[in-house]
Amino acid sequence: MARKNKSAGRPSVQADTIHTDAVRRLRTTLGDRPGALLPWLHALQAEFGFIDDRIVPVVAEALNLSRADVHGVVTFYHDFRRQPAGRHVVRLCRAESCQARGGQAIERAAEQKLGVTMGTTRPDGQVTLEAVYCLGLCATGPNALVDGVPVSRIDTERLDRLVAQVNA
């Protein structure tokens, strides 16, 4: 196990009670099983929608890791957000099989119709458009996950419906 890092317990940014409470609950639900950090971060992101910088020292203290370790993991993996996402999240596949089925044109159209560039959240906070590299639906692309729901064979018509759905 990692050695005790003294600085881990002294957060530079004050954590809120909701963060310390959430981490206390994780100790019970997930525990400090070997390699617990990723399951913990997934659980925290599911609860708060993103990994707040203020929770990093709390997690580090609880798992006996350094803040640098936790920060390093949060920033390494594409899934972990450090800012909240929009109310709707559209994850559009950019990988080869979707490209072979016209994905690039759909990507450009999605940016234009949603009014947001790939990898960003619209200023009104309504929608985040993100790239995903393969959803494993490679014979029926272009594909997307819209708020977690898979959608295949996206053409202009289906895109218009998705845009209406996330704008509603």
């Binding site: 070997p34 390699g35 617990a36 950090l37 990723l38 399951p39 971060l41 997934h42 798992l63 370790d69 390093g72 993991v73 390494f76 993996y77 594409h78 899934d79 972990f80 990988a95 080869e96 099989s97 979707c98 490209q99 072979a100 089925r101 995903v132 590299y133 393969c134 959803l135 494993g136 639906l137 490679c138 014979a139 029926t140 692309g141 594909n143 996950l145 977690g148 898979p150 959608v151 295949s152 064979r153």
Partner: protein
Amino acid sequence: MIRVFISRDMASVALGADAVAAAFSDAGVEVVRTGSRGLFRIEPLVEVETAEGRIGFGPVGPGDVAAVLAGAHPHRLGDVEAMAFFMSQQRFTFARCGVIDPLSIDAYAAHDGWIGLEAARAMVPADVIAVVLESGLRGRGGAGFPTGIKWQTVLAAQGPEKFIVCNADEGDSGTFADRMLMEGDPFCLIEGMAIAGHAVGANYGYIYIRSEYPFAVATMCEAVAQSAERIAPFQLEVRVGAGAYVCGEETALLDSIEGKRGQVRAKPPLPALKGLFGKPTVINNVLSLAAVPFILSQGAAAYSQVGFGRSRGTMPIQIAGNVKNGGLYEVGFGVTLGELVNDIGGGTESGRPVRAVQVGGPLGAYFPPSMFHLPFDYEAFAAAGGLIGHAGITVFDDTVDMAGMARFAMEFCAAESCGKCTPCRIGSTRGVETVDRIIAGDRIDENLQILRDLCDTMKFGSLCALGGFTPYPVMSALEYFPEDFGGAPALAAAAE
């Protein structure tokens, strides 16, 4: 009561299967949700149970309930298994997928489940490994390393604690066999892992599934919970990735399970000797582990009698991209690329000529139709400057811009590099810039030479396959489609 079977596979759901299932339920029909049969052109597929067996209809929509139940729907397919796409397959690993309710442990047992595990547990570990060795099974993740030898190394390793790790981080575009198996027959994977545990003396296993597969994660978690008693004392835990492609590399995956950044480790030490938490570890792909129950229940000879050269058994091949009959096609090694793309796949869905196919995911080579004679075999593809990888084939029609695809390969490598070694971390970014200069027509010959040098450095200097294999799509695009890089057409292509 009438009974129908409708897939709950993520691909089927993405095509509307949930709405179809709800419509049948509302009509008072008993709906059994299965995995997918694997031919997506006919999804959402509804199979109606009749005295003559299951009769398939597809694709159908939620408004088609009455027509399907009356047997009058125009998309009547008859016995799905009698369709040419399925008749010509050899389904060893995917025998149950699309047939049974994947989360019914009773249905699994009734369809030859657990026979392999019982057979294995009646043998001493070394004998189990001997059977796997004799079957000729090689790692289905892409490297093709003999599974039995890996297991032998772990069995021989000393230590009180060993692990079985299943690599279900199927990130290659054009592949979905792991996903389909986990969603359609999760107990098969669990049985394979329990057999591996017995064979090497490991009591704990991890299944590392990418987060882009939420359906597979849910199905595996439920199946693991249901089968806990059946596989005891062996225990399993599902771990979910977090969007890092490089975690499909085995040592990066181990670091990720350990709760670290998914960075590649230098080898040696081999994971078999010093793997997860520093303990001897078997790390195998989903398809390797899922092939094991068949091998133990039917015998090594039943498996090894199909195949080609040193590639024994079957490969669940995934036909994807711009193709008419896209889907999962499990067959013995040796089928040619042309048969897969043109005969089985039916050519492009757009109806335009096939220009290129990428075999083996983002790190695989692009081949033109002049290479369609290649037999599906690890050695044949390696000799042709490519790889079969995880056996995904992505078909492109003649609108594809191969310089753009070469650029994308470098761009993807730059986005996904773990950053540990320089050729991959820096080389991929320089690669994007160099391809951009070529596309812009800036000193083409000079920049092509730089690109070749760069690919050479990445291929031989990278720590793992991400940096090491990114040159495959780039160099093959350059070799077979030079006209897209401002050069003269390749001779082979010109002769077509």
